[in-house]
Amino acid sequence: MIGEKEKNAIIRLFHVYRHYGSKNALIDITLDVFKNEFLFISGPSGAGKTTLLKLLYLGEPVSDGQILIDGMNLSRISRNRIPYLRRNFGIVFQDYKLIKTKTVYENVAIVLEASGVKRRMVQKKVNHVLRTVGMEQRHSAFPPSLSGGEQQRVAIARAIVGDPKIILADEPTGSLDSESASFIFNLLKGVHTRGATVIIATHDKELIKKTGGRVVYLSSGRLETSPYV
């Protein structure tokens, strides 16, 4: 049974540490994330949620320990393979990370362009996803002229437009009113239903309660066994 589960793990962390100088942001994290799981990472401000996600997409290297993604060991991956690894992920960054000098449309389209999707296909997909998050009318606006929630929706559109295998969403509804939030949430649920693994970092207990699913708690960089498993 455990063997079965292990085979199904798409992300595996073994005794992962991450420290910045003397500050320990993550301490001895061992965690399996299974294919098509809907996982919450929760914990108070500064617990290490964002740091954990960063390690997964190689935004930063681990200080110690091993991470396997789909069987690949991240510490053994060569520099020029990193972009290909990252194309498995759709990431909603906590601070959105939209390109200020590109329009909403371009910000979303660039994901597809970077992986070589044909122009016509790009147009179709981008327009569709912008319609889904309710940003189609602002498609030629630049991010600094968007409201916080609008920026967040563009960030989500960019994360899901490429149909990634894994979605990493860091506080994806922090700037949204409850209505928009549940809408976005259903969107992520939909992506999950279509086969993606979804990992959401959030401190919003309401949200977690409403949804259900496995929750792991981080507290000062340590993993606490989830009462929800």
Binding site: Y57, K100, K102, I110
Partner: protein, 293 residues
């Protein structure tokens, strides 16, 4: 794919207008500096060469040389390496010249019964081959000819001046090279600054899985466009300034036959090509720096 990159580069230029304007202006100024110096140097050099055309070697023929041989001798001289022209000066002309030369002591020559001067040739040299040593070699070679009595060339100051001209040329090339390097660094620095203010964007592209080449390509195209425009702009300014100045200066200052000239096409195009190379290089180095981490 190339079309996409090209489109992205153009878009980018539009979207980052301020950065692009600044880059193009800086490149134009750097090119202007290098090309102004090139123009200054080329024309000064031309002028010196023009003036140095005065350098000549006077060959006195033996008194028994028959007039029939003159054309052959002339040909002989003109075939020599470094010689541009050999002009025959008969002894009668020579005496006239001498009279003119020492005009205040003319009484001295007044009572000559016969012309004691020999026939002579004035051998003019090709400007480029007028280093002092070459003149010397040539004169030795001429002196060993059977029908030649004596060779007289230049004066002391001419030798000294040749050295000065060589020094001027050498430092001119040095200074030009230094300016070129300075321009390269300035352009590279500017591009680094521009990329620095866009490092967030570069970082974001990498995070969403864009390969380095995908990120770099538009920057390359863009900096090629910038440096080509900058180069043309810089040379354009130079040309306009040159036209205005040339038409005012020429009459007052220059010796009649000399014409100041614009950069020759070869230099012009070399500068444009260099400009493109520099833009490309600056882009390459900066991208390397910002994509390393």
């Amino acid at each position: 794919m190339i079309r996409l990159f090209y489109k992205r580069a153009i878009q980018d230029i539009r979207e980052n207008r301020f950065l692009n304007t600044v880059t193009i202006i800086t490149i134009a100024l750097s090119i202007l500096i290098v090309s102004v110096f090139a123009l200054f140097f080329i024309n000064t050099n031309d002028l010196i060469n023009h003036w140095k055309k005065g350098i000549r070697v006077v060959v006195y023929l033996k008194t028994n040389t028959s007039e029939a041989m003159i054309p052959d001798i002339k040909k002989k001289f003109e075939e020599m390496y470094g010689v541009s022209e050999a002009v025959f000066i008969s002894k009668e002309e020579a005496l006239e010249q001498l009279k003119r030369q020492i005009k205040s002591q003319i009484s001295l020559l007044e009572d000559l019964k016969e012309n004691p001067l020999p026939d002579a040739f004035e051998v003019r040299m090709i400007p480029s081959s007028q280093s002092w040593e070459k003149v010397e070699t040539l004169s030795d070679k001429i002196e060993s000819l059977p029908y030649v009595d004596d060779v007289e060339y230049g004066e002391k100051w001419l030798g000294r001046f040749t050295n000065i001209v060589n020094l001027f040329r050498l430092t001119g090339y040095g200074v030009g090279g230094l300016f070129f390097m300075a321009a390269v660094f300035i352009v590279a620095n500017t591009i680094r600054l521009v990329l620095y203010s866009r490092r967030e964007e570069i970082e974001i592209m990498r995070l969403i899985g864009a390969a380095d080449s995908f990120i770099k390509f538009p920057f390359y195209i863009q900096s090629l466009i910038q440096s080509t425009l900058g180069g043309i702009l810089g040379l354009g300014i130079l040309f306009i300034a040159f036209t205005i100045i040339a038409s005012n200066v020429e009459h007052g200052f220059l010796p009649g036959s000399f014409q100041i000239r614009f950069l020759p096409p070869a230099v012009f195009f070399s500068i444009v090509i260099s400009s493109m190379l520099v833009g490309w290089l600056g882009c390459y180095l900066s991208l390397k720096q910002f994509l390393r981490i």
